[in-house]
Symmetry: C2
Subunit: 360 residues, 2 copies
């Protein structure tokens, strides 16, 4: 999907991790990083990168596909994954390798350790997990396009949403609009949550009918060339109470203030603190039960994490969400989420839709 | 989703694993098993089952949802998952626990081991992985319904498929039909692969136009109450060659013969051997590059595996696929897949659609 030199550049960044950790090679087992590093889009593979070699191990289903998609990387077939890795590592004669410990399961690790006695297996997670955090210009183009497909789709169907429709109806109309608009799939299972359901941050759309006075939380996204978008709008249906308006505005202000602070060099924890602090000072801190945001790219949730426990800093080229919410159990909830491209002096908001939607 | 006594029965089966392995508790971290055991449908949680207690650990996003969905199980909130597990295990005073080693990542394991010094952590995968293999009557009802939605949808749109349409067009029409027919989502990303693409067992639908003389492989499924269906049909478009006809029939016969052999007590390896042997004897063994089938349920791929390395036996109540294929790189491919409920004396085929589809 990208030019070969892009993959070469990415692999050379992996090789700098080799040197920094004093190891002879890295085993990657997560499909997203493998896609990022060599362009292979299948569902199962292992990538080994040494100082001089890179080898993609795949099973028989993927021989033809890998031959088409992957350049600059040797392709080997395995019958059993762990045996395939073992044979390769022994063949290379390396004695000290790193592995993607946030993805490798214990079962795989125990088998590998047993077969590779005498080889040091070093867990590497943070180093590897953050390799995709800063996006290049093509990646940004794809994410922007995914966000555009999603936002425009919601805008063009918002007038069709009426009291009496089910959450599921709304999800179907929106999803079919995104598909018609060039989305290659859903970024994740669409959330449409009305009434009491909106108080569940991760509700699934059901057969609930949307009623007058409801909030309707719509958390949705599209895929484009494998890149995700992620955005949330909370619509108001008919007349809402003064209390609802007030709390909506608290979330909106928390969202706006956090976004205003987004720029390279600011700590992720600070962004979370701005949104969370605003909601806490308004007296609703206990009802904001999740982090403020996360990176978006080949996965809908990826590095960096924007939460009160975050340790990193924003860098130019990261794409993150800012998504504060207030959820009052048994009543209703509100979340407003936008995607932002971090820039040197601020950020570029990738969503194309007003935060102040309303169904009349 | 199920009656409380169903969950109690399932948890008592987990407790028999405790006794068989001489451990005091089991940590489950895979969301599918957690859903199966206590009904929680969120995306993140930990379940600890001891001889006398069962505790669901969740983060703040899921408090309300877990309260609604889960009965007969204590619910605790954590800020950090590993710290939450540690506090619980230390509080229970257990010294010897099993864990779901096919799901727990190395990172999680290393942190747990570090925090739980003095507690033996025993990897348990096969025992736990197979707990969902035999389905009860409600599960079978849901899978049958998912298969019914999918099959009927394909049947009702098959006449609309015409040369000149793209693979993506076909996927969209089929997916939207399944959604309209009560499917609650896709069982997996729909595969529509025509011409050369059909030689890729895991192709993604693209903008390729379907042409006269093509095979079109459609591998698709629907979700119902969380249960999956999985079925493949290979359509022929316009006139195909004698060679294509011959190879189609080899796959069809391999599929039929394997299905005829499906019944309780037969080894999974034998079912694979029947399909594979048939294709090998016809001279195409090297082009059948995957296993013959797998279980289907809350996951689209689950126990048992039907391959040449399988060690288990079919049991009444399992739901499996039988899906031989022949893929000739650069030319085309064929796969025919049905779902079957294993019974004492044979099997019940859950798909409702002829294997001999054809576009005229």
């Amino acid at each position: 999907m990208f030019e070969p030199f892009i993959y070469e550049k990415r692999i050379s960044r992996i090789r700098s991790i080799l040197r920094a950790n004093n190891i002879e090679g890295i085993l990657l087992v997560g499909m997203t990083n493998i896609r990022y590093l060599v362009g292979f889009t299948g569902s199962d593979a292992v990538l080994f990168i040494g100082e001089k070699i890179s080898v993609l191990l795949i099973d028989g289903r993927y021989i033809t596909q890998a031959g088409k998609e992957v350049t600059g990387c040797e392709i080997l077939e395995y019958k059993d994954k762990i045996e395939g890795i073992t044979a390769l590592i022994l063949d290379c004669g390396v004695k000290n390798i790193g592995f993607e410990s946030s993805v490798l399961t214990c079962d795989q690790y125990f088998r590998l350790k047993d077969q590779l006695r005498g080889v040091v297996l070093k867990p590497l997670s943070t180093d590897i997990d953050s390799i995709r955090a800063i996006k290049d210009s093509n990646e940004i183009k794809y994410i922007r396009k995914a966000a555009h497909i999603a936002s425009r789709s919601l805008m063009s169907i918002v007038e069709e949403i009426k009291p009496g429709m089910s959450e599921k109806d709304v999800a179907l109309i929106l999803e079919s609009k995104m598909a018609d608009s060039g989305g290659e799939g859903l970024s994740f299972e669409t959330i449409v949550a009305s009434g009491q359901n909106s108080a569940l941050p991760h509700a699934k759309p059901g057969f609930n009918k949307i009623k007058e006075g409801d909030f309707v939380v719509i958390d949705y996204g599209s895929l484009y060339n494998g890149y995700h978008s992620d955005e949330t709008r909370t619509l108001t249906v008919g007349k809402i109470t003064e209390k609802q308006k007030k709390i909506y505005n608290i979330v909106k202000d928390a969202h706006d203030r956090a976004l205003e602070a987004v720029k390279a060099g600011v700590s992720c924890r600070e962004i979370d603190g701005i949104a969370r602090g605003w909601i806490e000072r308004a007296g609703f801190g206990q009802y904001f039960s999740h982090g403020t945001g996360h990176g978006v790219g080949l996965e809908v949730h990826e590095a960096p994490v924007i939460s009160m426990n975050s340790e990193g800093f924003l860098e130019a080229g990261m794409v993150i969400t800012v998504e504060p919410g207030i959820y009052i159990p048994g009543l209703w909830g509100i979340r407003i989420e936008d995607m932002a491209l971090v820039e040197r002096d601020g950020c570029d908001i990738l969503s194309n839709i007003s935060e102040e939607l309303r169904i009349l």
